[in-house]
Symmetry: C2
Subunit: 337 residues, 2 copies
């Protein structure tokens, strides 16, 4: 197929020196005479020599590949995180191999297996929504294979992670609603075992308390993270005897599904119901009304996750730094009554 790449041997043959001499010259080893070094480096440059990463990898037993497992790849949220990871990885001369769990535990487990076969050096992972057992990650951990979680993390495992401060952010949301005159604040949450669901619920409850509002169970509904189920959950809220006057959704999918459903029912945002999402910048501004939301620092999250990964490689066993990023509440039309 492609024309063979130049090897050290090619250079050595051409210059009638040994391979090791060439190897040394190319890394400016002091043992080699300046003239020879120069001559070799010139030829290497002319012939466009680049070291064969396969050979290096075999020698050092490292593939320079990081396995990245995300619930899906086509959402802006993950795409943006991935691009943050990618940027840092590239700086370190690493590649990322992306696998999508499709929100399925089974596929997540398979992805770990497959990536392991490919000899990735470690993993950066956001759990699937189904993931409620962690054997596949515990195995990595006990084999000292670097593992970093982001966003949806496994709390029972002491590994590095990057998350957003969901408690604080959700408190802010609740207060913001309250300050805009909302009294019946509803929350559409996700699967209960996920840290993001739990944290945001805590913030929701604390926020209510701070505002002197009583928690009403009928204003807390949960759904899995599909558009369909989010629509169902919204509908459920809207069939309450007492309608909520504010809703916030756990993530993009939920927020936009809720928006559509509220409109479908002929209700006005924000006049009838104010709406807040946990989303990214882009989507929040393109919808109408534009969506007040906690915008995730997605790109940064990806960068930090990758940074943790490399720290993990350097520091080895037991490293488990946790990073919590602040998320800003950006106020747009959907809450301005």
């Amino acid at each position: 197929m492609s024309k063979r790449h130049i090897s050290l041997k090619d250079l050595a043959n051409e210059l009638k020196v040994s391979i090791s001499t060439v190897s040394r010259a190319l890394k400016n080893h002091p043992d080699i005479s300046p003239e020879l070094t120069l001559k070799i480096q010139k030829l290497a440059a002319d012939w466009n020599y680049t070291p064969n990463p396969l050979a290096m990898g075999l020698l050092r037993q490292q593939t320079k590949m990081i396995g990245v497992i995300v619930p899906d790849i086509v959402t802006h949220f993950y795409a943006s995180i991935i691009s943050g990871i990618e940027e840092v990885a590239k700086q370190h001369g690493y590649y990322i191999v992306i696998a999508s769990s499709n929100e399925s535990l089974q596929k997540e487990i398979e992805s770990v297996e497959n990536l392991l076969k490919s000899r990735v050096e470690g993993f950066i992972v956001c759990l699937s929504q189904e993931t409620n057992k962690y054997d596949h990650f515990e195995k990595l951990n006990s084999n000292e294979i670097p593992l970093v979680f982001f966003d949806r993390i496994c709390e029972s495992l002491d590994v590095p992670s990057v998350v957003v401060d969901g408690v604080e952010a959700t408190k802010k949301i609740t207060r913001h609603f309250y300050e805009n005159g909302c009294k019946r604040i509803a929350y559409i949450s996700g699967p209960e075992h996920l840290n993001i669901s739990k944290n945001r619920k805590v913030g929701y409850l604390e926020g209510l308390k701070e505002c002197g509002l009583k928690f009403d169970p009928q204003f807390l509904v949960t759904c899995n993270l599909s558009t369909k189920d989010a629509t169902r959950a919204t509908r459920q809220l809207l069939t309450n005897k007492i309608l909520p006057d504010a809703i916030f959704g756990l993530n993009d999918t939920i927020a936009f599904a809720a928006m559509k459903e509220i409109k479908n029912q002929g209700l006005k945002i924000p006049d009838d119901i104010a709406l807040v999402g946990f989303t990214d910048e882009f989507h929040s501004t393109v919808v109408e009304p534009s969506l007040t939301s906690v915008t995730h620092p997605t790109f940064k999250m990806g960068q930090e996750a990758a940074n943790l990964f490399f720290k993990c490689i350097r520091n080895g066993k037991g490293f488990s730094e946790k990073i919590e990023l602040k998320a800003d509440l950006i106020i747009r039309e959907s809450t301005l009554k």
Copy 2:
């Protein structure tokens, strides 16, 4: 770091046979006695042996990596295509390494260089909007390195490609506008050297002719593919002495920027101006009014591109199949006067 993987040598030592025997047994070579074969395979399974891809790669000189270069990675359009590529690649035991050109020719060239250094076996590429010279791709081609283009292709290079039938799709749009009573149909195009700009312009002009409308140059504006410039282009259309009563935008970015700007100017969609985009499913439905659009078969496009890639590897030099996918016009609120 991670616990060493099992090698053939480990198995051989354990069973007191030679490495080559183990190697043969694992691939059911008839030379090895059935009993030995079974014994070896059992141990391999027990010890969870998996061949080292680095070693195989070095031996066969293949990395099983495909370089994928896209203008950006966070757009749903590309993310979806990438996931189509990924699916097919995985079936063939290949990985994809994604590089983003960020719409910059310079970065595109660098990406080719870097991926080449990583010894990717070939490329699947969507040109950056700046790309108007093709040396970096011609070099690949003349070195017989597999190369496939999708969406934005290089027409002067005879390599396989997947595109959407832009002429046909744009004709449909124009006719659809006309049938809905629009007479002053405007088109916001992209950089003139891109095939997608050119094709869609052809369809636009032909469509006008078929409808018996005269082409008015003031209704054709171009922009680079940034939101900012798309906004400027829209504004330009809206300051014409004669306002258009229909606009279509080359792609997502343009369509949504146009939508925002039209609304900003206090004009109603579709009553004052009907709007159509070339976009994907998701975005078109989330905005208000929902956007009539030509929806790209993105996932399919990715799959086809990857299929072409593997055909290219099999067939070698000279293979240059071109695939043209049909895109459907999906009618939504933004054109229903």
